[in-house]
């Protein structure tokens, strides 16, 4: 067995495979299928300062090799998370809270409340949700706005701060550089690509708010390109995601320069895929004679 351990800032991961926010619940929903302690980590549902009902149904549309969603950050709020969900997250893995907000103050206050939770050693700042009007992606589409949120959160949150980037921009590298300069310990990318579905028979838009975020294998080439670009432009660790469905997909992101990966939509197709990807990465390393996963990060020519 190869050495699969990686570090994201001060966060130590048993292996480079995390599950992506919004696709794996709190991990508890998958306990029948996966031993959570076999994962590098679990990034829980998007969490906001106040409870949110999310958007109206329908929130999902199937697409070629992917899906659109417009869930819109439905969650019971950070206090509910701290009081009712956190106590149940006692598994031997890293739980990371995905934090969202509508103003820098919001983000910072939400992060501050999570900072008090001993077993949570990192947050992932979602400045890239395409499905809410008030904030979300608005912060992730300009270097200045992104930096303002990250600066505010950096002051409120001393542990590992991962910032999740939006692909819905012309120059993702400038955003990545801005959040690095503002104090982020790592970046993760990509969030979903904004898209749309139309029902030709009924002559109307399928999703309740018209547009949604595209995920799944369809987005993988775009994600891989962005991870490559960002990994070559920043010196903090990059977490790669977008369409990863097999261990080979995950290896490609590592070769492109990602230190870790997240598995999202693929969890819906095979609820046990995350641990299969861990084992597959190990097999790949053994087959190619690498002692450590660190040996393949960013080595693609």
């Amino acid at each position: 067995m190869a050495d699969l351990r990686v570090n994201i800032g001060a966060l130590e991961l048993r292996n480079p495979v995390l599950t992506a926010s919004g696709t794996f619940g709190y991990g508890l929903e998958f306990e029948d299928f996966v031993d959570l302690s076999e994962l590098g980590g679990v990034i829980v549902k998007g969490t906001t300062l106040q409870p949110r009902q999310g958007n109206a149904y329908p929130r999902m549309a199937e697409t070629a090799q992917g899906m659109l969603n417009c869930v819109g950050l439905q969650n019971k709020g950070v206090d509910y998370f701290c009081q009712h969900i956190y106590p149940r997250l006692t598994h031997d893995t890293q739980f990371v809270v995905n934090v969202s907000g509508s103003s820098p103050e919001d983000y910072a206050e939400c992060a501050a409340r999570v900072a008090g939770l001993e077993r949570i050693r990192a947050i992932e700042l979602n400045i890239s949700c395409p499905n809410v009007r008030d904030g979300g992606m608005a912060f992730g589409t300009s270097p200045e706005a992104a930096a303002s949120v990250v600066e505010a959160v950096r002051q409120a949150y001393p542990k590992t701060l991962i910032v999740k980037l939006s692909p819905n921009v012309t120059d993702i590298v400038s955003i990545a550089r801005a959040v690095e300069a503002a104090g982020a310990d790592a970046v993760s990318l990509i969030n979903t690509l904004m898209g749309m579905a139309i029902d030709a028979e009924r002559r109307r838009r399928v999703l309740s708010i018209g547009t949604g975020g595209l995920s799944g294998p369809a987005v993988k080439p775009v994600a891989l390109r962005m991870v490559w670009q960002v990994a070559h432009a920043v010196s903090i660790p990059v977490i790669g995601l977008g369409g990863i469905s097999t261990a080979t997909d995950a290896v490609e992101f590592l070769l492109a320069g990602a230190t870790a990966v997240e598995v999202g939509t693929a969890n819906f197709l095979d609820p046990a895929i995350s641990v299969k990807i861990v084992r597959g990465i190990d097999e790949y390393l053994t087959r190619h004679g690498y002692a450590s996963v660190k040996d393949i990060i960013g080595i693609c020519e």
Partner: protein
């Protein structure tokens, strides 16, 4: 949650029977051993192989569990690419399923009189429900609606578990019209009603239930991605806000829903 015993199984199909142009009955066993316990109203997420246009799994109700043969049955109506691909399967093929998912119908108590109302492929979960209800010592009456006589499926099987009344829209079997127009509803009273079918039908039955003061459960068919409460795509607006149909349902008491009834 870890105790509910959801499993990912490579089932083996023991029978694939075309009941009719648009309906297929799939029967499957677990080659590795017994099936997990399943309740009427619960469902499975079936993986659709060999259909390029089908990305997600498809939610399909548990139609029947044959305990002796350890067989689970699915009744599938072909409406699109995914269900058509399921209908192309043959005996011996593998059917990858995640099951059992969701919360089923409230189990019946001895002495209750249950009316089970089904429309179209919505009759699927009612066969297992009829069996479980009869076994609990309650009285079962089915009221099944379809467009035409040929759309009435599995009638002899339903008859094993209770009285069966039917309506067809064209009058080719039973009373002509919709289930809510059947004379049974004015002639008899029931202690509970369980419904599965197209939404307009369920709303109409819910209205009847409410006006007659009969407790009523309906089984919803919201579009699903994960089926396990992770994606929050399948939500229904309820008295407690948005809840996941795949974990809180698919069966709901009508009192929890915000339907105009």
């Amino acid at each position: 949650m870890g105790t509910q015993g959801k499993q990912i199984l490579d089932l083996r199909l023991t029978g694939v029977e075309r009941l009719h142009e648009r309906y297929v009955l799939l029967r499957a066993v677990n080659p590795e051993g017994a099936l997990p316990p399943m309740m009427a109203g619960q469902f499975a997420q079936l993986r659709v192989d060999g259909s390029a246009g089908t990305f997600l799994r498809r939610p399909i109700s548990i139609h029947f569990v044959d305990e002796e043969r350890q067989e689970v049955w699915f009744l599938v109506q072909t409406v699109g690419e995914g269900t058509r691909a399921l209908a192309r399967l043959s005996a011996g093929d593998t059917l990858n399923a995640v099951l059992p998912l969701g919360r089923g119908f409230t189990p019946a108590r001895e002495g209750e009189r249950l009316l089970l109302v089904g429309g179209g492929v919505g009759v699927a979960p009612l066969l297992q429900l009829g069996k479980e209800t009869q076994r609990a010592g309650a009285e079962v009456t089915f009221l099944l609606g379809a467009r035409s006589a040929e759309d009435l499926l599995q009638l002899p099987l339903f008859e094993r578990y209770g009285r069966v009344f039917v309506t067809t829209e064209d009058g080719t079997a039973g009373e002509r019209g919709f289930v809510t127009q059947h004379s049974l509803l004015s002639a008899e009273r029931f202690s509970r009603i369980a419904v599965c079918g197209p939404k307009p039908m369920m709303v109409a039955v819910a209205r009847y239930a409410k006006s007659s003061g009969t407790p009523c459960e309906v089984s919803l068919e919201n579009m699903m991605a994960c089926g396990v409460g992770a994606c929050l795509c399948c939500v229904e607006d309820t008295t407690e806000g948005h809840v996941c149909v795949c974990t809180e349902g698919p069966v709901f008491n009508i009192e929890r829903l915000k339907w105009q009834i």
